[in-house]
Symmetry: C2
Subunit: 131 residues, 2 copies
């Protein structure tokens, strides 16, 4: 999937998928988990792939929940713009501006991270993934 | 999870989860798959439960894609309002009013089904689930 997500936002390789921090960090920790092989729908995968993929999703979600002390995690596989399996894994924090709503409805200016912030955040998430 | 989703909108029992048609059918086929036992996050499940749950999600999604000739399926586990594992499984059709956007951002008046429409839709989905 080329230039998106950004290579310098790569968090970790999860085997059959790769996790990247979203460039827009308005929701702190918003992560995208991209399947390495091309498929558009869950039902196009083999059962074993689905099992390994949901293990990767759960593992990333647990790491993010720890890293950001999330109140709730959101897990979304949409593909309306890019029909390639990728998950949006979004920690919802105590400071969330709309805790009862899907993140998508919260209009906001994108919040990219400066280089030092980005490195610190990637490092913190990687630590929590290893724990 | 009590009165929600509505018992008369029940589609099928998938073993560890139950599928219900959403009361609001503005997006035709919007389905909610509710885990029977209580848990709030994917990473609270055992790996075997996660595997069986994602099999149920994929099975319902395949049935809905067939029943509604979906262009794309959306799969979402949020729990921001009801922190109990339930999936929104949403067929996105050729007639979609905002095909590139998450369904949540599409403001609309709720579209409940009349009794005969409801029975026809439940029947059609059950047929596709069995196929």
């Amino acid at each position: 999937v080329g230039q998106w997500p950004r290579a310098d936002h790569r968090i970790a390789d999860l085997g059959l998928a790769v996790a990247y921090l979203s460039e827009d960090q308005f929701f702190p920790g918003w992560t995208i988990l991209v399947l390495k092989r091309h498929a558009t729908e869950l039902f196009q995968l083999e059962p074993d792939e689905r099992a390994r993929l949901i293990e990767a999703v759960a593992s990333v979600a647990r790491g993010l929940a720890d890293a950001f002390e999330a109140v709730k995690m959101n897990y979304e596989l949409l593909g309306n713009q890019i029909p390639h399996i990728h998950w949006h894994i979004v920690p919802r924090l105590g400071s969330d501006p709309a805790p009862r709503a899907p993140a998508w409805v919260v209009q906001h200016a994108p919040r990219p991270l400066a280089a030092a912030e980005l490195e610190a955040r990637l490092g913190r998430i990687r630590e929590c993934l290893r724990a």
